[in-house]
């Protein structure tokens, strides 16, 4: 019923709901802040991990994940609240775009909205809040870019920067105690890519057993496959043919083909023909004179035996990614037809040594001294699969950040330095702006400052005191000060060597403020009737 007493006809479908104005806003604030609060304890070097347990029937129940990675936590959560979904979405995008800062982005957006809510309660119109935020964001972004520094890509300084960045990223993860070791490992892996940003070329092999410390970067390339029985286990100066072809039986691809015979003899003949066809194919392969044959698909016994007889080492069933990596590492071309043996020199890959090695319990094939040497392998060891998975995610984060840094080259100080600097810039700006927007700019500064505050809180330090000291230190002109999370003091980041990638911070700032703006602008939430699902 409306105010005049008219009965309002039902406009939307049954079960659909519409929330307007304050109710809608309240709903989005509550949802977004709840999500941000959930992940905020994982922030910083002293952040805690979460256990994720899948719902649903069957075996999956037992498969749990322990993680510190914001995107992984948020991705696995099922939420109903639309505003919360937006936060999850930006965290995912952050993961895809730069790979790290996935928690920061969600927390920052949540803190912005928390501040926004207070402003709304003060009767400031959302559009004014947004206008203020926009000014603040530009100011913050400008300051962020101003305080960043750049080193030449080939210099030792840049290399040091990379190690520091990797250390900073890894310090909030499970492997924080071994971060020096892993930082070095990641930097080496990324530098091997020689500027290419294709993460696929860095293979991560996870093997339970041993300790985390036993993980290593292999200078060769490791394929998680076995050499077929009856072949040489060690090949020096290998010429490798990488193929993607059917080596089981070559089925006829022409549509509608059927074999119809009228006598047993004919069957035998056709069988012979089939065999001959395979033989023919193998002969063609042999013409390339490889010493190693790697195929993506299955290889049946017959061709395998033929190849082995000719002294060729056969590796079958390499998965697609593995193949691409083998090809990239050895400089081979992936073949599917074998009619041009004259191109042999061009298409065959080359490496100095292929051997079967044992890591833990598993047999692997190691290619060392590869021609192109672009792909490499990180072997991770650890006590359990859960640890390995988490280490894998951490390494992935570090690699992503490093690749982004190599592309972008600019770095900022870590330890909350950039956030505090941005907040300071916003506060300076707030003093100059006329009108209600100034409140929103101040709120933006407060939200930014929340990030180091939460990092402190997570470390169990007195955040109120530390942050104030931090502010004073910055005010004194100490540009590189930051939180020393081991001692709980304000330290010098250049001495501690805590650096972060500018691009990650930039993306987090932009994405968080865009999302907060998006949620702030909403004054009406319409939920359609959920689609009816047939129970199976």
């Amino acid at each position: 019923m409306d105010i005049v007493g008219n009965v309002l006809p039902q406009v939307l479908k049954d079960e659909a709901t519409e929330d307007k104005g304050e109710m809608a806003r309240l709903q989005s604030f509550v949802g977004a802040i709840a999500v941000a609060d959930l992940v905020k304890t994982t922030l910083g070097p002293k952040g805690m991990d979460k256990i994720l347990k899948p719902t649903g029937p069957g075996q999956e129940m037992t498969h749990i994940t322990v993680t510190n990675d914001g995107a992984t936590i948020l991705k696995s959560m099922y939420v109903e609240n639309p505003a919360a979904k937006i936060l999850i979405e930006i965290s995912k995008t952050q993961d895809e775009e730069v790979g790290d800062g996935t928690t920061t982005v969600a927390v920052l957006a949540g803190e912005l909205l928390r501040e926004g809510e207070k402003l709304i309660q003060k009767r400031i119109h959302p559009q004014h809040v947004i206008a203020g935020w926009r000014i603040a964001r530009d100011v913050a972004l400008k300051r962020l870019r101003d305080i960043s520094s750049e080193n030449d890509i080939n210099s030792q300084e840049f290399h040091d920067d990379l190690v520091k960045i990797a250390r900073t990223t890894l310090s909030s993860k499970l492997i924080t105690s071994d971060r020096d070791y892993f930082a070095d490992l990641c930097v080496k892996a990324v530098l091997r890519l020689k500027g290419s940003s294709n993460l696929d070329y860095i293979q991560i092999i996870k093997l339970p057993g041993g300790t985390i410390r036993d993980s290593y970067l292999d200078d060769g390339f490791i394929l998680k496959k076995q050499i077929t029985i009856g072949c040489k286990r060690r090949i020096e100066n290998a010429k490798i043919l990488v193929a993607n072809t059917a080596m089981d039986y070559d089925k006829i691809k022409i549509y509608g083909t059927k074999v119809k015979v009228n006598s047993m003899d004919k069957v035998a003949e056709i069988e012979a023909a089939e065999k001959e066809k395979m033989k023919h194919k193998v002969d063609k392969i042999l013409k390339y004179q490889p010493t190693v044959f790697v195929n993506r698909q299955l290889i049946y016994n017959y061709p395998e035996q033929l190849l082995a007889d000719s002294g060729i080492t056969v590796i079958e069933h390499a998965d697609f990614e593995g193949m691409e990596r083998v090809a990239a590492a050895t400089g081979a071309e992936i073949l599917s037809t074998f009619d041009a043996p004259e191109r042999s020199a061009q298409v065959l890959g080359h490496c100095d040594l292929i051997e079967e090695i044992m890591i833990g319990e598993e047999k692997m094939i190691k290619f060392s001294g590869c021609k192109k040497n672009e792909a490499c392998t990180i072997v991770l060891r650890g006590a359990s699969t859960h640890i390995l998975d988490e280490v894998d995610r951490s390494i992935h984060d570090a690699l992503c950040v490093l690749i982004t840094t190599v592309k972008n080259k600019r770095v900022v100080w870590g330890g909350g330095n950039s956030e505090m600097q941005m907040a300071a810039a916003c506060e300076e700006e707030a003093k100059k702006v006329q009108g209600k927007q100034a409140f929103a700019i101040e709120a933006f500064a407060r939200a930014l400052r929340q990030i180091p505050t939460i990092i402190c809180d997570n470390g169990g330090y007195d955040s109120a005191e530390l942050i104030q000291n931090f502010k004073v230190e910055l005010q004194k002109g100490n540009q590189s000060c930051g939180l020393n999370m081991t001692d709980g003091t304000i330290g010098n980041m250049s001495e501690l060597g805590v650096k972060e990638c500018l691009r990650v911070k930039e993306q987090a700032l932009m994405a968080a403020s865009e999302a907060a703006e998006l949620i702030m602008r909403v004054d009406d939430i319409v939920k359609c009737a959920p689609r009816k699902r047939e129970r199976a």
Binding site: E97, S336, E514, C528
Partner: protein, 535 residues
């Protein structure tokens, strides 16, 4: 439910299953319809104008979208009420015809219905009301034409177009970057516009979205961007002076449509067939290669063997290119779409300056860019943003801006925004009302009130006092005889919309008023609603 009785007192059954039908008649039906339509208009009214708010819509599958675009909101609300559905269609037809002003049209219809309701309460016959609205509408449209101004779209580096685009983008979440995005939209439209015919083929502007980065990173690519990569990882990532072979046949052995069986009855047959099969691939690739093509784009898939042969012949290829992309590429590069390998000739190849693969983010996603196409300059706007919702909304906003620019190229007459045009029309309609001696007078006067509702609503959304600001604007319009006085939504200190440079196209405004009036007339004609009773 009313029943008819015959002479013996037995009830006639007029409608089948009458007892199970829900029926509303007369005034009750009018009111119910109007209230339902108003409910929709009310939801939209807070989205109007530069300070309008957004709506968050949750689809039946739980997907969230946040939007300010009227047509999208009403579409995603999944409205059930039959009369309210008329407003959905209203918004959509504005979207299809003009592309912009989809919120305004619904709000106007809502205001008109509100007025109609009070007139009904006064006891004026609905048909009289709709006649009055009709006449008032004509007056308003005529007046719009007299106050419209022609603008020079070429002048000052198309400044007028950029301003108009900015007006359209001003109400959206991307408004912070409206200038940059406006420029992108203008450049895109001008690149593909046929200025001689004053027409723009919007199909040539492809809008591609990719999450990541921020809205600032949105770029205009003077070429076509397709979300695909080369079929073989080792193919070259860039082809210069590309001669494109556009295929709609797969690189696979032929599959005739008629059902057939090939019977193999002997080993010879088997061998022959094998050889023939091999030959197929060789022939296919050879035909493409011989035509002089140096890149093949195919709508279908490739067999492994064919894929490798392509690589071996140094012929980069792309598979599974979508149908619309194939058409776009054909238009842009002048390529003919080739349905059979036998029909490839050098003349049918399209030409482009370069085709190259570009990569985004860490997740290893690649896209292909086809640049410097031979024929028309098809362009792509690549939209970036922090999340899927932002990117989607930016896409809708850019689409609106593009439509506005196209309309201006078609017809370069503009009216000024900020509610000034509506206000000017309202004044004119009010004057006309006094000249009408019949009952319609009331309806015409109400029409003027409804028109005033738009600036009213604008002022309300901007946090201004609606009644004072509208009254001020109106009196200044009358005193200064200046139809450009409107509501100062952005608080820039002037109410002259010419100074604020808020441009709206005449065609859009006209269409809004006409469409809204039509729908209201239609709703006013319904006096009986019969629906299956589902409650």
């Amino acid at each position: 439910m009313s029943l008819a009785f015959d002479d013996y007192g037995r009830p006639y059954i007029i409608l089948r299953d009458q007892g199970q039908k829900k029926r509303m008649k007369g005034l009750e039906a009018y009111k119910s319809n109007i209230l339902a339509a108003k409910a929709v208009a009310n939801t939209l009214s807070s989205s109007l104008g530069p300070k309008g708010m957004d709506k968050m819509l949750v689809s039946p599958d739980g997907d969230v979208s946040v939007t300010n675009d009227g047509a999208t909101i009403v579409e995603k609300m999944e409205i059930q009420h039959p009369t309210a559905k008329l407003l959905v269609e209203l918004s959509q037809s504005q979207d299809a015809e003009i592309g912009d002003g989809t919120t305004g049209v619904v709000v106007l219809a809502g205001k008109l219905l509100e007025q109609a309701l009070t007139l009904l309460d006064k006891g004026i016959h609905p048909l009289k009301i709709s006649d009055g609205f009709d006449r008032a509408c004509d007056v308003a449209i005529k007046h719009l034409e007299t106050i419209s101004e022609e603008i020079d779209i070429q002048a000052n580096e198309h400044e007028a177009l950029i301003q108009a685009a900015c007006t359209a983008l001003g109400s959206k979440v991307v408004s912070k970057r409206k200038r940059e995005l406006g420029k992108i939209a203008v450049t895109a439209v001008l690149d593909v516009a046929d200025l001689a015919r004053r027409d723009v083929n919007l199909d040539l502007i492809k809008i591609q979205t990719k999450t990541g980065g921020s809205v600032e990173d949105t770029r205009l690519i003077s070429g076509i961007l397709i979300d695909k990569d080369m079929s073989h990882p080792q193919m070259p990532k860039e082809v210069k002076e590309a001669k494109i072979c556009l295929l709609t046949c797969p690189f696979e052995p032929p599959k005739p449509k008629t059902k057939h069986n090939i019977n193999i009855s002997s080993a010879e047959d088997y061998k022959k067939l094998y050889l023939q099969e091999q030959q197929y691939f060789v022939d296919m690739v050879k035909l493409v290669k011989d035509s002089g093509a140096n890149i093949a784009l195919c709508q279908w898939g490739f067999d492994d063997e064919a894929n490798h042969l392509l690589l071996q012949n140094e012929l980069p290829a792309v598979r599974w290119v979508s149908g619309t992309d194939v058409e776009l590429i054909a238009m842009a590069t002048g390529a003919r779409i080739i349905p059979r390998f036998q029909e490839i000739t050098p003349e049918k190849l399209g030409k482009a300056g370069s085709v190259k693969e570009v990569q985004f983010g860490t997740s290893n996603e690649r896209m292909l860019v086809i640049e410097n196409c031979q024929c028309t300059k098809a362009v792509t706007i690549l939209i970036r943003g922090g999340s899927q919702m932002i990117v989607d909304e930016a896409k809708r906003s850019i689409h609106d801006a593009i439509c506005v620019i196209r309309n201006l190229i078609k017809d370069n007459r503009i009216v000024y925004g900020g509610g000034s045009a509506e206000l000017a029309c309202a004044i004119q309609v009010l004057q006309y009302a006094d000249e009408v001696s019949s009952v319609e007078q009331y309806a015409i006067r109400s029409f003027a009130d409804a028109l005033e509702g738009i600036p009213n609503c604008l002022a309300d959304n901007c946090g201004l006092n609606p009644i004072t600001s509208v009254a001020q604007a109106k009196s200044r319009q009358l005193q200064e005889n200046n139809p450009r006085i409107g509501i100062d939504c952005m608080e820039l200190g002037t109410t002259d919309m010419k100074e604020q440079r808020i441009y709206e196209t005449l065609s859009s405004k006209k269409q809004q008023i006409q469409l809204a009036t039509q729908v209201v007339k239609m709703i006013l004609k319904i006096d009986d609603v019969i629906a299956p009773d589902d409650y």
